[in-house]
């Protein structure tokens, strides 16, 4: 049975019909009483003298109205909480509801938990698949080295290229699956913490080079998103900066109007303006037709799109490339 009438309209119609019924019944009762006891109307008239009955009647109506309103407010709360669920501010429907609504809410919560677990499992499986492929790829790459040593250099180079392409595909899609799972909604990440962790790692990974990485990011700066995804975006950008820098990399961040701008500069050779757009444009699909930029920027660009963020490349005052990432706070 479907109906397009709102709950409010139905309650209103119900209340009006109920009142009409009560009026009819009370006039019928009054008529019967009058025929049996002719003096009754006078007593009733006396009883209804003064303002008290009017006050009582008004109070009853107001309380009745408030009761209905309160009952309906549970539906409004449900709608608000569902909205929070949608934007990711909440993981489940919070609060207590009237007994008619509560079972529905409980069922929804169970469903949400099941969905969350299913997503977690799927992400874990995607991770297992990715990791499971990497070790055989490493074995194949090594076999290619042996082939090269045996004189089949061309074959080996071709195998290496394909292995590299597969690695990039796996990394790209794993990062995408992790970021697109919807788990990012409602989470916040401290940019400074992410940057500091990455700088610790990059200092080790580029230990053979004397790199100075300056960090100027406010500790209180939070952006929306999962730490893992923010790490992945900033990590790839910072790693590029470190790889191309001569000696200096600088990370700075500023925020205004709900937007945080993270700026990464290096003093390397920079990037030709004509190529700037190209390295960002080049996604995995484009990589399939060529060797690809190998800059890891395909992952960054994909995550940036998923996050509704933006990335821009320009010339750095340090002499190299400047990458600016705009994220929501």
């Amino acid at each position: 049975m479907t109906s397009l009438l709102s709950l409010r309209a139905r309650l209103l119609i119900g209340a009006v019909l109920w009142t009409v019924g009560l009026l009819v019944l009370s006039s019928v009762a009054l008529t019967r009483v009058m025929t049996v006891h002719p003096r009754a109307p006078i007593r009733v008239h006396r009883a209804l003298e003064g303002y008290l009955p009017v006050v009582v009647a008004c109070a009853c109506m107001v309380i009745g109205f408030l009761q209905v309103r309160r009952g309906l407010s549970a539906v409004d709360a449900l709608r608000r909480n569902l909205g929070a669920l949608h934007t990711g501010e909440a993981r489940r429907l919070e609060g207590a509801y009237p007994s008619e609504v509560q079972p529905l809410v409980d069922d929804l919560n169970t469903l949400l938990e099941q969905r969350d677990r299913a997503v977690e499992r799927a992400i874990a499986k995607a991770g297992d698949l990715a990791h499971g492929l990497k070790t055989p790829l490493a074995v194949i790459a090594h076999e290619a080295d042996r082939a090269a040593a045996a004189g089949a250099g061309e074959v080996a180079e071709s195998v290496h290229q394909q292995v590299d392409r597969m690695r990039r595909q796996v990394d790209y899609h794993l990062a995408h699956a992790r970021a697109a799972s919807g788990r990012a909604a409602g989470q916040q990440c401290a940019v400074r913490e992410s940057v500091e962790g990455l700088v610790r790692a990059l200092t080790r990974l580029h230990a053979d080079r004397q790199l100075t990485i300056d960090v100027s990011v406010d500790r209180a700066l939070l952006v929306q998103g999962r730490r893992e995804d923010i790490d992945e975006m900033l990590g790839n950008i910072l790693d590029n900066a470190c790889r191309f820098a001569r000696s200096r990399v600088a990370v700075a961040a500023a925020s205004f109007d709900n937007v945080a701008v993270v700026t990464i500069d290096d003093d390397g050779p920079g990037l030709d303006p004509a190529l700037r757009a190209a390295v960002l444009q080049r996604g995995v699909r484009a990589d399939e037709s060529g060797p690809g930029s190998g800059l890891g920027l395909a992952i960054v660009r994909n995550l940036v799109e998923l996050y509704g963020a933006t990335i821009a490349l320009s010339a750095s005052p340090l002499g190299g490339l400047r990458v600016q990432l705009r994220l929501s706070t």
Binding site: H131, L133, V139, A141, H160, V163, R200, R204, A207, G235
Partner: protein
Amino acid sequence: MRYNGVGTLVRVLIVEDEPTLSRQLSHALGGAGYATDAAADGDRADFLVRTESYDAIVLDLGLPHVDGLTLLAAWRSAGIATPILVLTARSSWHEKVQGIDGGADDYMAKPFRIEEVLARLRALIRRASGHTQALLIAGPVALDPRNGRVTLQDEAVKLTSHEFRVLAYLMHHQDRVVSGGELVEHIYAQDSDRESNTVEVFIGRLRRKLGASFIRTVRGMGYQISP
């Protein structure tokens, strides 16, 4: 052959559960002059690290029984400072940060180029030892631990890897007598067969190549390079 700061062969532990990859790594590292041991799970790796002494460890993170990150943290908190190169399928930046913060000295994602593993391992061991090994000289014989070259009166001498290991150990301990057992201990990787009479074979060959009186036998005690 590669030698560490105290003149013994550089020993590297490979912790990798995939047998083919483990074999490939052992082979490649062995070819580059390292003595390698292999562990296929966390428990075995933990046992070896706590009982043997290694110059570097190549560690996979996705291990059966005990996870690599757990091992890493346990070793570091136990004061084991051996340089560790993490070689793993986990390639996200978040995982790299976790690995480095967990105590790894370097972190490489699979698949990798073996030359890069070797280069990074070399850098890791060099940084850990903090100095480069000087030329070892005993009479007319000179041995360069950095490139594995041996010369007799400035003429290059070709030695097999085992002969080189025996000679290098003896030359580094010229001041004392080295027992056959001690030599076996230092020239063989952990799980090779340890037959002390093979040492006599290597000593014999070295005498043929470098002169019969170059290495003297101290009866009942061992060997020493003639003063």
